[in-house]
């Protein structure tokens, strides 16, 4: 999981997080894995209901997961997912 620089301090300074998986996992599984290790980071990505925050985009294979299968989108072993904040604000 590749983090934007603004979130790196919440992951002990790491911009790349890895999760052990022998087979495909879902984005939700990955986010849950992150939540277990970095709860403050997790709260920036999802709210209490588990929903991905409105202006947080998660890309798998170059596609934003809202255009795939949402949190059920599968991630293959070795595949990167990108966390990118929306262009938003004023």
């Amino acid at each position: 999981m590749v983090l934007p620089s603004v979130l790196v301090p919440l992951a002990d300074g790491k911009s790349l997080l890895t999760a052990p998986a022998d087979a495909s996992v879902t984005v939700q599984w990955l986010l849950d894995f992150v939540a277990g290790n970095y709860p403050a980071l997790s709260r920036r990505l999802r709210d209490e209901t588990g929903a991905v925050r409105r202006f947080v985009n998660i890309y798998v294979g170059g596609q934003e997961i809202r255009r795939l299968h949402g949190l059920a989108t599968e991630v293959a072993p070795g595949q990167e997912i990108l966390i990118i904040q929306s262009v938003a604000g004023g």
């Binding site: 919440l10 709860p39 920036r44 209901t49 202006f55």
Partner: protein, 380 residues
């Protein structure tokens, strides 16, 4: 380094937090921004237990809301790993914004209340590090009929009486709710308050109250600034009567009361719902010293022309004698008075929209203004 009786003014804006300190409430040093690019809709300064804790509601458009606290006047900021305020799973709700952080009385150390969006009240017993949802209000049968004001649906005012039994909450839109059992059960208390925008102008609830405050010296006396209408209750919110006569307008967001003196309150009128500017473009604070029977216009030191409004929590008083009065505008100007509003001086200008201000007397602590501007952002 300031060591005694410094004044701390925390300024929450649309794009970060600024901290100002002063030895005399006339000359101010400003530090910030903290949490740059996050809005700061709420601040609580807790001076109980011999330390000064600044609590701030922080909300990033990208990364969501949270609560940070600092025990070193903004040098460092902390938040609980799992968040100070989290809706329990069974509510299927998520925190949108922390609108109010209210440290309770000195006799109840550690107790801090929070009012949030969606409409909810929370209570902490550990100084604001972890809050518990008030289930009585959350499960209230009226919930489905409460609405959202333009800024969202939130509990924005919390007032607790000295013995802790009576708790009043104001919400937009829903009106004033009262608990006589410390927050276990709640009933609407809006008799006499107009909801002119409703087919029934005097409903049991549904009023758009903008702010309530308690008279510190008269038990059971409350004041309310409504969406048109300024009111006082002398019977613990059983009934309300208008005290708007003598004001240039009955619209506004601010309601402040004196920390000790009976009958003294301040409002900052805006012309009307449809014209949310100071009447005539001339910004002024209005003070009553007789519980609303008469009002005195206070504008010395304020600009000749000002068309920005002042939001509900963008005004406060401190506990010094005489009491300080502070407010900030949506145009980013912040003003302070060291003499209860008789004279104002500018603390800051050209900041982002001011959403909230809170002031406190800080004794025996280094002044935040002497520190370098902190670089804290929401994710940090």
């Amino acid at each position: 380094m300031a060591t005694a009786d410094s004044y701390l003014l925390a300024i929450g804006t649309k794009k970060g937090l600024w901290l100002a300190t002063s030895p005399d409430r006339r000359n101010w040093s400003l530090s910030g921004p903290h949490f740059l690019m996050s809005e700061i809709p709420s601040i609580g300064i807790d001076t109980r237990d011999g330390r000064t804790r600044i609590l701030v509601g922080v909300r990033s458009e990208h990364w969501g809301p949270t609560v940070f606290h600092s025990d070193d006047l903004g040098d460092t900021w902390n938040e609980p790993e799992n968040g100070a305020i989290r809706f329990p799973a069974d509510t299927d709700a998520a925190l949108e914004r922390v609108w109010q952080i209210y440290p309770d009385a000195a006799s109840r150390p550690g107790v801090v209340w929070a009012g949030c969006e969606p409409i909810s009240v929370w209570k902490s017993t550990d100084g604001g590090e972890h809050f518990e949802l008030n289930r009585g209000l959350w499960d209230h049968p009226h919930r489905g009929e409460w609405g959202a004001g333009y800024g969202g649906a939130a509990a924005h005012s919390i007032v607790v009486n000295p013995d802790g039994a009576n708790v009043h909450v104001a919400m937009s839109t829903g009106g004033v709710y009262r608990s006589l059992d410390g927050g276990t059960s709640w009933e609407p208390r809006n008799k006499g308050i107009s909801a002119y925008f409703n087919p029934d102008p005097y409903p049991e609830f549904g009023q758009c109250v903008h702010k309530i405050a308690a008279d510190a010296a008269v038990d059971g006396r409350l004041y309310a600034q409504n969406h048109h209408g300024v009111y006082r209750s002398d019977d613990n919110a059983e009934s309300w009567e208008s005290i708007a006569e003598g004001l240039p307008a009955d619209f506004g967001f601010v309601m402040l009361t004196h920390p000790r003196r009976a009958g003294t309150a301040w409002v900052i009128p805006l012309k009307a719902d449809g014209e949310r500017i100071p009447p005539g473009g001339k910004l002024a604070v209005h003070r009553t010293e007789d519980a609303g029977a008469s009002w005195t216009r206070l504008d010395e030191g304020l600009p000749a022309a000002e068309f920005n409004s002042v939001l509900r929590d963008a005004a406060c008083v401190d506990t010094a004698d005489p009491s300080g009065v502070y407010f900030g505008t949506r145009g980013g100007s912040v003003y302070a008075s060291a003499d209860e509003g008789d004279h104002f001086n500018e603390v800051a200008s050209h900041l982002p929209d001011v959403l909230c201000v809170r002031a406190a007397v800080v004794t025996g602590a280094p002044a935040a203004g002497e520190q370098q501007a902190a670089a804290a952002t929401v994710p940090a």
